[in-house]
Symmetry: C2
Subunit: 191 residues, 2 copies
DNA sequence: ATTATCTATAGATCTATAGATAATGC
DNA sequence: ATTATCTATAGATCTATAGATAATGC
């Protein structure tokens, strides 16, 4: 039943990848270690050879989810630097993103739960947020003092997260769409 | 062991009040029915005389938490209508609110978890959000088209929630305070 | 020989229910 | 007599560990 070191490393990556999606979809308490391992094609007991605890996996899964999300933005900026902000806002506040929690922004899916986690999780998350802010800053229109640009970046990030979070929680499709649409109109043109 | 109808009604209210605080503090999965009843001064088994299920309580606790939160804003508007928006933003994005999840805004504490709940919970939440938006609209500066005012209201609400949520999730106190401060500066003066 | 994974299980939860108890309200 | 609450427990989780197994890597 033993596999090669290479395969073991791949198995570990697979666990993190599955977890990062399942946690965003169901929340940290909405999915157990046994089911995560099953989704990764492994058995329950093998988990603790890769991670010290579920919390340990949560920290890593949050980190990679943030990195992945930031990577998408970086790619948009690289592709078309001139209207990057507009592209980021349009995709972030799209119906597709709203309806795909599992592959979307970990902040919108998990931020309040992360706030309740221990220091290792929050530390890893904070690093991911800093990186994400650095990337978003590049997408913000220049031609203003650096301090102002930093402010606009943070305000845009908060606006994006708040908008998506409210749109998802709401039961009425019309209200959910109105929230998204207003967010797109106001955040896409900078602050 | 039986109590009067009046006392039973009070007990029910107490359960909802305790639950609305504990849920905001620990999340829906972070506190069990037995512990909630203990905090309310009752025993586990008595719960199901008052509520059909934990989900049932979640819906009601979300609703009253939203109503309570909206009531605070309404009071601020009544007290000083001229600078109500600024007062709302200052209190919402205060350190005190950030550090008191249990008595604070249920959206910032629970929105992503609410999004994963069934229709009854989300319906009750949606009603609470609509009411809250109606109240916040009154605090927005007038002197502009109604449509624009509605947009500014929704954008402000999303900005408030996103700002508080990020500030709480972050591990570094300086970054957490920077996020709050920028939110206060930008949202207090309308959009 | 080492070790990645497996099976099996301990021990601690959690929601919900059954049936007993005792005070209220007719 | 009704009913709000209590005790006790069923049944289903969940995290984590112990010990067996079998393939890798020396």
């Amino acid at each position: 039943m033993r596999v090669s070191r290479e395969q073991a490393a791949k198995n570990r990556e697979k666990i993190v990848e599955v977890a990062s999606r399942e946690f965003r979809d169901k929340g940290f308490d909405g999915i157990g270690v046994a089911d995560l391992m099953k989704s990764a094609g492994l058995t329950h007991g093998g988990f603790y050879g890769h991670f010290a605890s579920k919390d340990d996996l949560i920290a890593e899964a949050c980190g990679t989810a943030m990195d992945h999300s930031t990577g998408k933005w970086a790619k948009l900026i690289e592709t078309s630097p001139e209207n990057a902000l507009s592209l980021i806002v349009e995709s972030y506040l799209s119906k597709a993103h709203r309806d795909d929690n599992a592959n979307g922004c970990p902040m919108a899916a998990l931020a309040p739960e992360i706030a309740r986690q221990g220091n290792p999780v929050r530390e890893r998350f904070t690093r991911g947020l800093r990186d994400s802010l650095d990337v978003l800053l590049e997408a913000m229109p220049s031609g203003r003092p650096g301090e102002r640009r930093r402010e606009a970046t943070l305000a845009t990030m908060a606006g994006l997260v708040g908008t998506l979070v409210l749109s998802r929680a709401v039961n009425d499709p019309d209200l959910a769409e109105e929230i998204l649409a207003i967010g797109r109109a106001r955040l896409g043109k900078d602050g």
